[in-house]
């Protein structure tokens, strides 16, 4: 038997289904290419959209980049650091920290506006946090 007490996050079939539904809806609303939900220590929890062979290194790097930028923010006196945005020529990456500190990562091209991505990710972040918290507390 797996010992659930010692592992901190158990992704249940039902929880993953709920999360995937939320992410799929978010993807429709934002026209994102793909969306990855990354656990704060760098593991992927869920992904939707275009298949990419790089979800594992992407998750590790997203968690690292975000953690590092948040530390920088702290050092310059900013404590409310929840969002990171990188704008490229073809691709944009929007990362938003949930209240569980897990990272909602949206990769999109120029078609949707950043404003829409911002608003829509904000709208789902509460629901996503709740799904994760429910799995964390399930024993």
């Amino acid at each position: 038997m797996l010992n659930p007490q010692l592992s901190s996050l158990i992704v249940t079939t039902e929880g993953l289904k709920n999360i995937t539904n939320i992410l799929n809806k978010l993807r429709e609303d934002t026209k994102a290419r793909y969306i990855i939900l990354v656990e704060k220590s760098g593991q992927m929890i869920a992904n939707v959209g275009e298949e990419t062979p790089f979800t594992m290194p992407l998750s590790a790097l997203v968690a690292g980049a975000f953690a590092s930028t948040r530390e920088i923010a702290k050092l310059v006196g900013e404590t409310e650091f929840n969002v990171m945005y990188q704008q490229g020529k073809n691709r944009n990456i929007y990362i938003c920290a949930l209240k569980t500190q897990d990272l909602l990562t949206v990769v999109f091209d120029e078609s949707p506006s950043l404003g829409i991505v911002k608003i829509k990710t904000k709208e789902v972040s509460e629901a996503l946090s709740n799904e994760i918290l429910a799995m964390l507390h399930k024993k």
Binding site: S7, G42, I45, M56, A60, G64
Partner: protein, 192 residues
């Protein structure tokens, strides 16, 4: 922290290679990457300085087969050993399920090993973890060098808790897989 996915039937664990600068942490991962079949290991990502020292971390994902019907996936990370990179070292430790402490066997590196081990305990404490609660193993690397300290000196100095320890010559691969097998087994034992 381990992530157990009942939907895909996968267990994901994070193992961190810690230790002094130039001790051979990156070399361990490079050897694993070079040796394993691409079907069971992913690409290695290295965030380096211009002179090949680790700046933030190395990352190597592995698929180590099945346990009780779950595929076990390990993410190996190294930290930067250089003293001044403590902020990034601490970030990489976040969520570690197991640690390999890579000690440099050279006599003159003994104090650096001691300091690095102490630094690791301090950083773990920030995540409310201790060396008594977390699976970890020791690797005494660079056994090939003439100035390597005798094994019993290393054991007495660094292994006061009596964890499993391995002699290694990482660039030749000696001890690399023994170390990895031991830590992955200990991590899985905790979970199951």
């Amino acid at each position: 922290m381990a992530l157990i996915n009942y939907s895909s039937r996968e267990i994901h664990c994070k193992i961190v290679y810690y230790g002094t600068g130039l001790g051979g942490k990156t070399t361990n991962l490079e050897y694993v990457h070079k040796t394993l079949n691409p079907q069971i290991r992913g690409e290695m990502v290295s965030l380096n300085t211009a002179n090949e020292r680790t700046l933030f971390f190395d990352f190597l994902p592995l698929d180590l087969g099945s346990v009780q019907g779950f595929r076990t996936k390990f993410s190996l990370y190294t930290v930067p050993g250089q003293v001044e990179y403590n902020a990034s070292r601490k970030l990489v430790l976040n969520g570690a399920d197991g640690i390999v402490f890579v000690a440099d066997s050279q006599m003159e590196k003994m104090q650096e090993n001691i300091d690095s081990l102490k630094n690791m305990e301090e950083n773990l404490a920030e995540y409310s973890m201790t060396l008594d609660s977390l699976p970890w193993v020791l690797q005494y690397n660079k056994r090939d060098l003439p100035n390597a300290a005798p094994l019993d000196v290393l054991e007495r100095t660094l292994n006061t808790r009596g964890v499993r320890s391995f002699e290694a010559v990482a660039y030749k691969g000696i001890g690399v897989f023994d170390t990895l097998k031991a830590i992955s087994k200990e991590v899985l034992n905790r979970l199951t």
